[in-house]
């Protein structure tokens, strides 16, 4: 079991008061807080090893290159991938998906082809495909949802056909918490001869993740949602796929030779990392991974399931309060979107802030889903390893306060 009290000691930001109350941070689905080990990794890098990588011969450049490439290996290990060379560092999940839309999509998607996604997706897994479809004359098709907040498997099956070239779906919903049975979806895609991209922004940080078990051809996620720094994303691709793809951005480090007539590309993954990468933050992601590995992802998952169950049980006791998404905590992650009757989510979030409780209110970059839920916005509490049951009481207090204000 995670010892939350001790663990919170590792997160300096949590030891502050906000509007006179202990900070209760319930917005980890947006971005997580960072343990001291991650902050120290940044400081240590800049104080001892900072240099530009890959082309340098001097000692600092060697150190920086080694630490940067070490993190590639750590990422591969963390997601159960066999080749570090299949891991590309980007800025965030969004860039990882856009990279695929350009480097794979512009090459393999043509007139009349179809890309299947769902109404549950984050904008980052919608807009890149709309842009690609517009460039290629292709179409984006949207699988629908069941009333209890699952992806409607029949609707997905009906959409996937001979024109489908790519199925791109989220692993865990950032609004409903729903965990999708992605291995099944991957199989449906593959049977139709399509590739399967997995938006794992909300899953890799919160549960034991094995890339082989997902069946995915591409996996995208962000360091900042897994206790790591802002500015780093990961794209993993099945062995051999990166080689077939065109470069995304051109520039330093991604070339083999540059001539006036034409240039040739460096080997993967470097072909996709143009210019000076975000060296320090990549290295700090390595520290975040080590921190999570030390906790154990099984433990992390167990903790968050228990906390989610507790939070749902507690919130549901508030008269009229409604929770979106699956009722069974085993079928979802630590994300609880709720409605307080008569209280608009923005008012809810402002009043919560007055109690030191950081929740998010809005469309959560999921406008299609909001339309399905027939709400303009929701209030959302989301958890990470540093949250405990003692964070729920202040949330309940804030909700009661809001109900009183808007009674």
């Amino acid at each position: 079991m995670l010892d939350i009290e001790r663990l919170r000691e590792d997160f300096p930001i949590l030891h502050q008061r906000v509007n006179g109350h202990r900070l209760v941070y319930l917005d980890s689905a947006a971005t997580t807080q960072k343990p001291r080990a991650v902050i120290d990794a940044l400081v240590n890098y800049y104080e001892t090893s900072n240099a530009n990588i890959h082309r340098g011969i001097h000692t600092l450049a060697q150190r920086a290159t080694e630490q940067y490439e070490d993190t590639r290996a750590k990422v591969a290990r963390f997601i159960g991938a066999s080749n570090p060379e299949d891991v590309v560092f980007t800025r965030n999940t969004t860039e990882s998906i856009n990279l695929v839309a350009h480097s794979w999509g512009d090459r393999f998607i043509g007139e009349g082809d179809e890309i299947v996604i769902s109404q549950m997706e984050h904008h980052s897994n919608i807009v890149p495909w709309q842009l690609l479809a517009a460039r290629a004359g292709a179409a984006v098709r949207f699988a629908s949802l069941t009333p209890d907040g699952h992806l409607d498997v029949d609707s997905l099956r009906a959409l996937i056909g001979p024109r489908t070239k790519l199925v791109s779906l989220m692993h865990m919903s950032n609004v409903l918490g729903t965990i999708n049975p992605v291995a099944e979806f991957a199989e449906m895609a593959h049977r139709a001869g399509a590739l399967f991209l997995l938006d794992a922004a909300q899953s890799v940080p919160h549960l034991p993740f094995d890339v082989r078990a997902t069946g995915a051809d591409f996996v995208a996620f962000s360091a900042h949602k897994m206790l790591g720094p802002t500015g780093v994303g990961v794209l993993w691709a099945r062995e051999g796929l990166l080689e077939e793809m065109d470069p995304f951005m051109g520039g330093g480090d991604m070339i083999a030779t540059v001539r006036e007539e034409a240039s040739t590309w460096a080997e993967v993954p470097h072909k996709f990392e143009a210019g000076t990468p975000n060296i320090a933050d990549v290295i700090a992601l390595g520290a975040a991974i080590e921190y999570l590995e030390a906790l154990g992802m099984d433990e992390v998952r167990r903790h968050e399931v228990a906390l989610t169950a507790y939070a749902m049980d507690t919130l549901e006791r508030i008269p009229g309060l409604a929770i979106h998404g699956p009722r069974d905590p085993e079928e979802r992650g630590g994300v609880v979107s709720f409605e307080v009757p008569g209280v608009h989510p923005h008012d809810m979030a402002t009043i919560a802030d007055g109690h030191g409780v950081a929740i998010r209110a809005g469309h959560h970059c999921a406008q299609l889903l909001m339309r399905q839920l027939r709400v303009p916005a929701t209030s959302r509490a989301s958890f990470s390893v540093y949250n405990g049951e003692d964070d729920i009481a202040p949330l309940v207090e804030a909700i009661e306060h809001a109900r009183k204000v808007f009674a």
Binding site: G20, D347, T350, I351, G362, F406
Partner: protein
């Protein structure tokens, strides 16, 4: 401090939120304008009749948080039947209060209740939404007049 938020959610604001004034479409309104805050989804529609250099009639509807909706309700109450130059002046003073943190002017009337919003930059946009829509509507009135 909880007081900050008690100050924000003053009774007057809540009253306008619960019982919005001049709510609903104006049939045959010559001017219909709307605005959306893409960040939070707040939506305000204004229907306007301008005649003899004044806002002859005004109605609003929409959805969103208490700040955006009560601000619109107070706007209609304050400006219905008032001359256009007064509408312009009040708009300016609301902006000065919300954006620049200036003390509310006596001309603002009930709108003074929005003063607490100025301390919450993310909510200022909610309060300003209807005023931007109004400006758009009056600009339209000026060109079609």
């Amino acid at each position: 401090m909880a007081e900050l938020f008690d100050d924000l959610y003053r009774e007057l604001i809540l009253d306008h939120y619960r019982r919005p004034r001049n709510h609903g479409e104006l049939p045959d309104a010559p001017i219909r304008v709307e605005g959306v805050n893409p960040v939070c989804g707040d939506e305000i529609h204004l229907d306007l009749k301008v005649a003899d250099g004044a806002i002859a009639d005004i109605g609003f509807w929409g959805h969103g948080c208490s700040i955006s909706q009560s601000s619109a309700s107070m706007l209609t109450e304050r400006l219905k039947g008032r001359p256009l130059d007064e509408a312009g002046r009040v708009t300016k003073k609301v902006r000065a209060m919300l954006i620049d943190g200036e003390l509310p002017d006596s001309e603002l009337g009930d709108l003074e209740a929005l003063e607490g919003v100025a301390r919450l930059p993310v909510r200022v946009k909610c309060a300003l939404l209807c005023w931007n829509v109004l400006e758009q509507g009056l600009a339209e009135a000026a060109t079609t007049a």
